[in-house]
């Protein structure tokens, strides 16, 4: 633990340090720039943007673009705003995250504490499944959803996200349970505890942190997904990302940039909030998903 958080032994002079701070602050501005653009332009009237004032603070402050983006902007054929799509996303994300996390926890438990022949190969197969380009499954998935009667439905999307998310959740729980003392499990077995009892009484109570990581990772990925939403959603199950894209790309009428920016923030808000509240876990998920094994 102490190794991971130690400070570097490198010493730097005053001039170099000033330069370093300067560069770091400049890059902070670079990363903040699009957020600034989105926020200030979402609260000003359209004329201020088209008149060359994109970088200026609003002269007239208005929440009109937010209201319009949420409840009355034209998306597709209906002037419904983004709100129905926001709820579509929620209805899709909540069950998909819950199911894939539960499955991942059980899989991780089996793969680490009930080892059997070929389990490493199996895990390798699960792992590779995380990284396939989804283009390779789009056509058969469309056909399969049709066969199952789930084409264009929220439950169809839930199924898709569970299937392609369970690899990651399994990875998280497997790596977490791998370092959990197996002696405890053996002791419980000798005392007569069964498969689920061990999971329920011994592993689950200490799984809090990794469950948070898994939930955040799945939530962010599924909320932000566009490819599956665009390919498989029907008119009344389209998620937020697809609706936002339709709003921004609409070719008819005046381009209401301020409404687009407000809509973009609305689409970003849930994941951004999660990042701000639980950033530590978000980063852990990213790192575990990248440096695997």
């Amino acid at each position: 633990m102490s190794v991971a958080s130690q400070d570097t032994a490198i010493r730097t002079g005053r001039a170099v340090r000033t330069l370093i701070y300067l560069v770091l602050v400049l890059f902070a501005l670079f990363y903040l720039l699009p957020l600034y653009v989105m926020v200030v332009n979402s609260v000003k009237p359209l004329v201020e943007i088209t008149g060359g004032g994109m970088m200026n603070l609003p002269q007239v402050f208005t929440l009109e673009p937010w209201a319009k983006a949420w409840s009355s902007a034209q998306i597709g054929v209906q002037p419904t705003g983004l709100s129905p799509y926001f709820w579509n996303s929620i209805k899709m994300v909540v069950p998909a995250v819950a199911i894939s996390t539960v499955l991942g926890a059980l899989n991780g438990y089996v793969l680490t504490k009930w080892r059997f022949k070929y389990d490493t190969i199996l895990f390798g197969l699960i792992l590779f499944a995380c990284f396939i380009p989804f283009q390779i499954v789009l056509i058969p998935m469309a056909k399969m959803l049709g066969l199952m009667g789930l084409a264009g439905t929220t439950w169809g999307l839930v199924l898709v996200h569970v299937v392609y998310g369970v690899g990651f959740t399994t990875l998280y729980f497997r790596n977490y349970y791998a370092v959990f003392p197996t002696e405890l499990i053996r002791a419980a077995q000798i005392d007569g505890a069964g498969f689920f009892q061990i999971f329920w009484r011994i592993l689950l109570p200490s799984s809090g942190p990794i469950a948070v990581v898994s939930i955040i990772w799945q939530f962010t990925n599924i909320w932000n997904d566009f490819l599956f939403g665009a390919s498989f959603a029907g008119a009344d199950s389209q998620p937020m990302t697809v609706a936002l894209n339709n709003l921004v790309q609409a070719s008819h009428g005046v381009k209401e940039y301020n409404v687009h920016f407000a809509g973009a923030i609305l689409a970003a808000l849930p994941t951004l909030l999660v990042y701000i509240v639980a950033g530590r876990y978000f980063v852990r998920g990213l790192m575990a998903g990248s440096v695997k094994g």
């Binding site: 730097t12 990363y31 390779i136 936002l244 790309q249 951004l272 701000i276 790192m287 440096v291």
Partner: protein, 297 residues
């Protein structure tokens, strides 16, 4: 008798339970991942157009694919994009990580700022950059309204430069993540070696060049694998930022596959392009995963 049989059943259940619990996920994966891969690869050898069809045509789709200028545009765009995206993200990520590692005040806040784009959807990122780079209302217009009348910046509308705007937005989104990977690597380096080298009078530059950066090899490898995998999958960002245009200037294999399969009714060719994407990713991921798994066991 009955009790013994019941006990026997119970022990057998305990033996089978782990496999039983694993089997739903396994079945899903075998069908929805590996079964689907087989199906898509098979389709790439058929005359499928609007819908899957099973007339075998051999390698015809592949030979058609490689004769399409549209596909060549996607491939060469991918080469430019992947090279710049991976290169810049790695360089920037490493640089920022080294700088952040110098006992910087407010390190936590800076890290949070560098990494937040990773939480956003590519559609949001694309929207923000699309309008910021738009010559009509964005940077160009702003500069002109500030008095720099001759300022021009129309890359996003320019066939020769539009791909670089995709690079810019993609780098903006992921470089903070690469920074975090390198920072974790830097924090794992043993200070004793550094102190010993400092005693011997090594300069900071040499410390980094000779000792620290060579030790970051695993982080470089992970960054390369993750970034190349992300590059090949890039789809939403192009859709939101440029829609593949102007013309076909920012088409990538993922957008090519999507439009040939779903809007041009050339499913066979779409499946062939998806197969090539899969093989490219497999060529990168399989050796990496194999090495990682072997190391662990």
């Amino acid at each position: 008798m009955a009790r013994a049989a019941q006990a026997d059943f119970k022990t057998r259940l305990q033996v089978w339970l782990p496999k039983l619990v694993l089997s739903p996920s396994l079945a899903l994966m075998l069908v929805f991942v590996y079964g689907f891969i087989v199906f898509s690869v098979y389709l790439s050898f058929t005359d499928s157009r609007l819908l899957p069809s099973y007339g075998w045509v051999g390698l015809e789709n592949y030979s058609k694919l490689w004769r399409l200028s549209h596909w060549w545009t996607s491939i060469s765009n991918m080469a430019v994009f992947a090279f710049l995206y991976i290169g810049i993200c790695t360089f920037l990520g490493l640089g920022l990580a080294i700088f952040l590692d110098q006992k910087i005040r407010a390190e936590g806040m800076l890290r949070t700022i560098y990494l937040y784009p990773m939480a956003l959807s590519f559609i949001v990122t694309g929207t923000a950059w699309k309008w910021f780079l738009d010559p009509g209302i964005g940077l160009e217009n702003v500069m002109q309204s500030w008095g720099w009348v001759s300022f021009e910046f129309d890359w996003i509308k320019n066939r020769d430069f539009a791909i670089y705007t995709v690079v810019l937005a993609a780098v903006w989104q992921t470089s903070g993540f690469v920074m975090a990977m390198f920072l974790a690597g830097l924090r794992g380096i043993d200070n004793e070696i550094l102190k010993a080298a400092q005693m011997d009078g090594a300069s900071n530059w040499n410390l980094y060049r000779r000792i620290i950066i060579p030790q970051l090899r695993p982080a470089f490898l992970s960054a390369f694998v993750i970034l190349s995998h992300l590059a090949i999958k890039t789809f939403d960002l192009v859709i939101a930022l440029t829609g593949g245009g102007p013309g076909r200037a920012t088409e990538l294999p993922a957008t090519f596959m999507y439009s040939y399969t779903f809007s041009r009714n050339q499913m066979g060719i779409g499946a062939a392009s998806a197969t090539i994407m899969l093989m490219t990713i497999a060529a990168i991921m399989i050796p990496y995963l194999y090495a990682e798994l072997r190391e662990k066991s």
